[in-house]
């Protein structure tokens, strides 16, 4: 018997409120299915399951706030892990306060309105008109948080994102990182001329919807380098030390309009083709900005990439998202004079940086990591 538990969706999350079941007793569940919606301080997040089986007894009533790790339901036909699975090491990146994509099973509706049971109950108690609210839950579902805000006379969060809470989460994670992680920083200039020429040629024959952005090449180069150098891809636990991750899930920093930042994971980035990566990137950025991310995207990133090139900065030195151990930064691609075969040439160059955890790796290895990335970007057709 496997027990489905309240997940941790951030290093600072201690408890969450179960607001919806999207699978019911007797329903088959499969790895990756979204089975519940949990409200956290950072908003509502769709929670996925990672076993195959059948939904059994549901152990926690709706609207209950329970600590991380609390069993929420029994899953029949699936094995419990020996040690109660600790919540995945969570990227301390702020979870968006969030609606999520329309769930497979639509939440209960009342007179055409989608609202969670908790939201309906509170609305009745507080005499809040549900029809007047805009839901920020999955598929526009009105969740508890929406009713609380309406009852308090507060303005609804911008597109489902509570930027104040997000700022608080960023503050907590970054302060912890600066306090605990002995960062070291490296930088290197990478000639992107070959990569951009290849991209221009590739995109020329494509319509806008099929085109690639330079970001997919840099993301892929980081993923492949992280695979080759596992000391930059994993999690550090002060009690247990460093554990390299088995897969490469790149946390891609996405700026939120109006302020804020979230770094959802692109899973198995090293194994995606550039076209697949572009499709993922489009989808992920759109959902991140709308506050529609999934629990695995909030918790799985093994290394982070941040690009500020669009805003004209030459380089950026990132702050590691604990418990990760590295963050790679990219600045603006600029035309710079560089020496090539004893001649001065104007080339497209980007400054790439690595901030890494000195408890896990040293500058020597970091330099090799960056050098490998640079080499990969000289042969874009092989990415």
């Amino acid at each position: 018997m496997y027990r489905f538990r309240m997940p941790s969706l951030g290093a600072d999350m201690e408890a969450g409120t179960l607001v919806e079941w999207l699978k019911h007793p007797g329903d088959p569940v499969h790895r990756g299915d979204i089975v519940a919606v949990v409200e956290t301080d950072k908003g509502a997040i769709e929670v996925e399951i990672f076993v195959d089986g059948t939904m059994g007894r549901q152990l926690v009533p709706l609207d209950s706030k329970v600590p991380v790790g609390t069993p929420l339901a029994e899953i029949e036909g699936a094995e419990e892990e020996k040690e109660a699975k600790a919540p995945a090491p969570a990227a301390a990146v702020p979870a968006p306060a969030t609606p999520s994509p329309k769930p497979a099973a639509a939440p209960a509706s009342v007179q055409g309105l989608r609202a969670s049971p908790a939201a309906r109950k509170l609305a009745a108690q507080k005499d809040v008109d549900l029809a007047a609210l805009k839901g920020t839950g999955p598929g526009g579902t009105i969740v508890l948080h929406d009713v609380e805000r309406a009852a308090a006379g507060a303005k609804l969060p911008h597109r489902g994102l509570d930027l104040e809470k997000m700022r608080a989460a960023i503050a907590a994670a970054m302060a912890r990182s600066k306090r605990e992680i002995p960062h070291y920083y490296l930088a290197t200039d990478i000639d992107l001329s070959a990569a951009l020429a290849w991209l221009e040629k590739t995109n020329a024959a494509r319509t806008p919807e099929q085109r690639l952005l330079p970001a997919v090449m840099t993301l892929k180069s980081v993923a492949l380098a992280a695979k080759k150098y596992p000391a930059f891809n994993g999690f550090y636990d002060p009690a247990k030390g460093f554990a390299p991750a088995k897969a490469v899930h790149i946390g891609n920093a996405v700026a939120i309009r109006g302020g804020g930042l979230v770094s959802p994971a692109i899973h198995d980035c090293d194994r995606l083709t550039l076209d697949q990566l572009m499709e993922k990137l489009r989808d992920l950025v759109a959902r991140a900005r709308e506050g529609r991310l999934r629990s695995s995207e909030m918790s799985d990133a093994t290394v982070t990439v941040s690009s500020l090139g669009e805003r004209g900065v030459e380089s950026l030195y990132g702050i590691i998202y604990p418990p990760q151990v590295a963050i790679v930064g990219f600045g603006t691609v600029t035309r710079r004079p560089i020496a090539v075969d004893e001649k001065l040439e104007i080339r497209s160059v980007v400054t790439a940086t690595l901030a890494a955890d000195h408890r896990v790796s040293d500058g020597h290895l970091g330099a090799r990591f960056l050098k490998h990335m640079a080499a990969l970007l000289q042969e874009p057709e092989k990415l």
Binding site: N203, L213, P214
Partner: protein, 81 residues
């Protein structure tokens, strides 16, 4: 499609990309990237939407011609003649 219709399509699509801004009140000659704080992915999504709505496939070398509202309208008007 006349110029007013093209303007309407462009403004609507920009509004989808930067929903918190009032795309009808932006300076028509200002750089959209700065005016609406859009990045290259937003811009590509904008061109993707224009392609779907108007059939105009903007090649990469022409991107710079669509960096302002007036520029985008003039470019599309020319292609849709």
């Amino acid at each position: 499609m006349n110029k007013d219709e093209i303007r309407s399509v462009v403004v609507k699509e920009l509004g989808k990309i930067a929903p918190e801004t009032d795309a009808t009140s932006i300076d028509p000659d200002a750089d959209l990237r700065e005016e609406l704080d859009i990045d290259s992915l937003d811009f590509l999504n904008f061109l993707t939407a224009l392609h779907k709505r108007t059939g105009v496939n903007v090649p990469e070398p022409d991107y710079r011609k669509l960096l302002t509202l007036n520029g985008a309208i003039a470019y599309l008007a020319d292609k849709l003649k």
